[in-house]
Symmetry: C2
Subunit: 330 residues, 2 copies
């Protein structure tokens, strides 16, 4: 049974949605949630029939969102520190946190450690595509701001393994984000990365920003600076279109009728792009499953983060990454 | 009267939309279009009453879209070479081309030359925002793939001048695209650029991808690699949303009714984001106005490119850029 250490205190809305989400997940799947945080707050939220299916590890400190990630390494009684250390000690198989993402990254990287052959873990995220039910994995989206070609190559290996093992792609296609599809396109770093990633059969070459959303590849590789920009840009475009439609609708009674009728369609679109559907972003490259959830996670997001962690652990993707790198280095 | 040299042959659809667009513009504004290309093809398209309001400069060669930009420098009888050289010789004030953009950039930079103090010209583009009628200038969007801090600083100066002089901002706000708003965020190059751009009063600091579309700044500065990615990503998101809505509508008779009613709203949205409304992207940093239009430009796009060139020349933005750099270097 997969054991998941959950930072129960770190999210923007406190312990409530975290504990609730873990219980929701438990209703659908067998696993052991280990809730880390203030027992006096957590215990009362657990329904009687689940009390013997949940562990609580008590601690009182929490890293607040506005604190420095570097402080996290000294705060040994904080919920995220204790949750990560449960994995380090072999008492849990995965850690999930909706708390301070910088603290989660640093602690997971330093206390759990990196997979052999990986210099820097990367945050992977899932983008919706115009192909029904298909997502694109984009990595890195913020863990590593300045990357070299070797880093990007390792991201490609990790993305490929995640797509094949966790998402069940038959044969994942990997693209390198660039300013054009031709092999000659790219900046100095991506051009050097192109040569390295060419070792992978899964590599389809350079892809452009639009390819993230058309389903032509399963994995898109970029540095964390570009990944952050494209993530925020995508959200900005989607928000602007939706705001624009709303403001126009106000001016037109005919369009109001149209909008009401289209409501169901918009709701489905929202679901497609809602992070709660994914649950969180895996930090790939760490020796154990680490899921970084959104600070504003609702119980549904946490439930899906649990499911993601279970799939991650059961797929043994980390062993696949390690073995792949070892084979490539031979 | 502003004299505009127009590459009449280089676009994807040949000379027809280019000549038509120039005539459309002439119906609304006084200027001298100098159409460069095959006279036997261009002349028949010009209505009798406009024949003495247009110049034709004959040449027979055209740089095709799939040819190398470097060849352009040797092809002295090509429409874009001749058009650029009309500016070089002082016979035209601006050049507009919907042809090979790499060739246009190289020729304009090398034959017309750079503004004193500018190391590398940059392509600026206009992005729609959720604030009615307001656009954000983003530069560079593809001319310079690897940039240093000094390049980004010069882009900031050029963007500021363009916003103030050509778009008529009272006091343009300039932002540096980064992976977070805090001054400490950024990659090595943007962090160094942050310090340089801080010399400008107009600088509001780091901005994120979403700020391009919310109208909080007038100018967003980035390197050409990131600019290309964000442009293509934005198009990808907008296309995906529109495809998604269309495919959902097919499955639902109720939504079809809704969609019909909302048609007008969608049409207005399309207009907001249609490049034909802008006409083209100015190549800033060259000693004379150079407008790079889309290869697929229709007559309306070319008409708007003419208007943009007229505003550019009349605003004397290049002198403003030169003077600003001189003052900052003192």
């Amino acid at each position: 049974m997969v054991r998941i250490a959950i930072d129960a205190m770190g999210g923007d809305f406190g312990h409530y949605p975290i504990v609730e989400g873990a219980i929701f997940a438990l209703k659908q799947k067998k696993f052991l949630p280990i809730l880390v945080g203030d027992e006096s707050k957590i215990a009362p939220l657990i329904p009687k029939k689940y009390r013997n299916k949940v562990e609580i590890v008590h601690c009182t400190d929490v890293i607040a969102m506005d604190e420095h990630a570097t402080d996290a390494l000294k705060r040994r009684d904080s919920s995220i520190y204790v949750a990560v250390d449960l994995v380090r000690q072999g008492k849990a198989d995965a850690v999930v946190s909706a708390g301070h993402s910088g603290a989660t990254m640093s602690l997971a990287t330093l206390r759990i450690g990196r997979i052999k052959g990986i210099s820097r873990p990367a945050i992977a995220t899932f983008m919706p595509t115009s192909q029904k039910g298909k997502q694109t994995i984009v990595l890195d989206v913020g863990a590593n701001i300045d990357c070299d070609a070797e880093n990007l190559f390792q991201f490609a290996v990790m993305g490929e393994a995640y797509a094949n093992k966790v998402l069940g792609c038959a044969k994942a296609k990997v693209g390198l984000l660039s300013n054009g599809e031709e092999a000659t396109k790219g900046n100095e770093v991506t051009k050097a990365a192109y040569n390295l990633i060419s070792q992978l059969d899964s590599f389809v070459g350079n892809v452009e920003g639009g390819d993230i959303f058309n389903g032509s590849v399963d994995v898109v590789v970029c540095d964390g600076f570009v990944g952050n920009v494209l993530l925020k840009t995508s959200e900005g475009v989607a928000d602007t279109i939706s705001q624009y439609l709303k403001s126009e609708i106000k001016h037109s009674p005919v369009a109001i009728a149209g909008a009401l009728l289209m409501k169901r369609v918009f709701r489905k679109l929202k679901k497609q792009t809602d992070y709660a559907e994914y649950g969180g972003a895996p930090l790939l490259g760490v020796k154990a499953c680490t899921i970084i959830s959104h600070g504003k996670s609702n119980p549904k997001a946490i439930k899906n983060a649990m499911f993601q962690a279970i799939r991650f652990v059961e797929s043994d993707v980390n062993e696949a990454i390690r073995a792949r790198l070892e084979a490539l280095n031979d």
